[in-house]
């Protein structure tokens, strides 16, 4: 499906992913993996730029 870089998974993880991809109604393992990664990345990218963490936490007087 993708011509881009390939990522290696252990056999055990692949089997777990395959099982839950089917259960959750994804059309393929790839679709599930891509979706899961996008969700995780969106969370990390949107909420937590380093600067934002710094502004929110280090603004506290208790911390220099």
């Amino acid at each position: 499906m993708f011509g881009g870089p390939k990522v290696k998974l252990t056999k055990e993880l692949y089997e777990r992913v395959e099982k839950y991809a089917k259960l959750a109604g994804y059309s393929s393992v790839e679709e599930f993996v891509v979706h899961a990664l996008e969700i995780q990345l969106a969370q990390l990218e949107e909420a937590q730029s380093d600067e934002e963490i710094k502004e929110k936490l280090k603004g506290l007087g208790y911390l220099a």
Binding site: L57, G59, L60, G61, Y62, A64
Partner: protein, 725 residues
Amino acid sequence: MASRTRTRVALWAGAMLALCALLIALGQSLSSHPRVGLNPFIESARAQGRTPHYERVIILGIDGVDYQLLKMWMDEGRLPNFARLRQMGDYKPLGTSMPPQSPVAWSNFITGMNSGGHAIFDFIHRDPQSYLPYSALSEVKPPPESVSVLGVKLPNKIGLPFSDYVLPLAGGTTVNLRQGTPFWDILTEHDVPAVVHRVPVNFPPVSADAITLSGMGTPDIQGTNGTYAYYTNNPPADWEGATGGKIFLVDVVDGEVGTFSGGALEPPRLYGPPNDFVDYEAARRRSGRSTAYQDRKASIPFRVFVDAEHPVAKVEIAGEEIFLKEGEFSPWVPVEFSMLPAPGIIRWAKHDLVSVPGIVRFYLKSAQPDFGLYVTPVQIDPANPALPISTPAEYSQELADALGRYYTQGMPEDTKALEKDVFGNADFMRQADLIVEEERAFAQYELDRFERGLLFLYFSTVDQIGHVMWRTLRTEEGHPARDEALDAAYEEVYPHLYQRLDEVVGFAMDYIDNETVLIVMSDHGFSSWRRAFDLNRWLYEEGYLALRPGVPPTEVEYLQGIDWNNTRLYGIGINGLYVNQLGRERSGIVAPGPEKQALMREVAEKLEAIVDPETGRHPITHVFMNEEIYDGPYAADGPDAQLGFDVGYRLLDESAVGGITAAVLSDNTRRWSGDHCQDYRRVPGIILSSAPIRKPDPSLVDLAPTVLEIFGVTPPAEMQGRAIY
């Protein structure tokens, strides 16, 4: 003859003075001496072991009043009203929370439960999946990706044509992370009215029937704990690394302040909240470059002119002209940040589709030749709040109408500006005075109209001023943060602050009668903070915490750079120690059960055995295991242990946010020179009460059930405290 007359006059005056003194003393005992003991119903309740009934409970909650300091200054006669209250009723240490940090301690007070019941364990918590630290008091949830409209799922961002703006259909939300029911909500369910002023960890306030104003935990308009702005042509050292504020380098050209850009003078800008109405991804695709976090904030320009001869300046902002002398704060100035301007077609409306209101105060630190203009963090405007800060929503407006606008940000004393040399001692104390006056005005206003139920009033300054002015106390000679030349002149600042609070206690005492009990309490005490302990450094040196290949320890920040597959323990928060636990942390390796227990025993023993070579003392008196101090449904969410530091010690700042520095132990040279995040047994709070206290060891968790029982309400079973009277 003349001499005899003078003697007679003196005798006569002396007699009159004595009579006056007697009358005043009598008057005092008649007008404001407690009649509590005379109430037969109270006496009978006491005899039967029941909590006596009162119609009114007044609680003054003064953050950070220390038991020993207060006792010393009462005994020296410096605090006559505190001492009068002690004599009338009782004075005892008040057991605090572990850790004795304000959000944890006040949550114990609010819910009558420890952290296992209210889920606040520290200022800072961490996400076990991402290992990222976050503010533990409230959570800002971003707008959802999609919304359902009449059963149809739509993307939540509608792009506006010919622009990078998007219009979300549903906004983000802010959630108070404290669990458990505040006792005032139980009171109002039983038709007992309650007014609760600025109690910490109550943002956003959600009470159904109580009148509340949020306090510590309320952000500024940028969503931070407070971000000041300072415009100067002579910045302090390392000005670009300022935290809790932004320092802007400006020039003064022909009397006007700005930055030179392309041959023209650009006026300074005041920054507001990050603008979520812009699609930064679309902007990046269009322009080929991404927008830095600072530039995502909405901003407004303003102009500043410096007088050529006199130390004064004029600020022009939002259609107002403000004249400032050196060392002077402006009144509150309302400002408005445009988030979504009206599109061209309807621009005739001259209004933004979305804008965010706020308020600021300007302070001219110096006019020339060194120019320095400080602007407070942009506050949520109590007269026009962008986020809810009170229940009912109109209450913050009502207070603003009656008393004028006021600070709404939690912990508004700008300790950050003081630590960065943006404020000197005198500038800082000028700002602190404004806050003390606000708190006194609130107290007078609410006491005057208080009729029945609970009145809680909060005072922040003893805590915040204590933190940064501790070094000025006479007892603190030799403190690593003390500058003898600058600080010795300020040694009376802190006792004087206690005296100003003594006046508040004095006028609150006028309201004591048979049906009114007055409680004055604090959430924790205070101590010196001279030496700092870097937990993560120690864990790294002892082999409990491993780094990814090529990462030098001093580059670790926010727990980034750690090799989780080989890390057993890590520190986050001001007292917290966590196991990297299998099944809980994303890459946990320590199995819960016997393996974890053995590890915790081993590390506790080692930590308690550490000796500071500089002082010969143990920095850590006791490692409190989670199960030793917490019970309740949220206990398992907390740290696996909390470090109990001895007085004089505290965790190093960098370690608290998941960083590592070069040394396990170091001098604390910060102006933040006093602290209390220590072994809770060493820093109890205080309780003074107009009625005698029966319980020998009252604690914060006891106050909620006490107030409930006073009004005849049975405390819920989950409350861990017991009534004190």
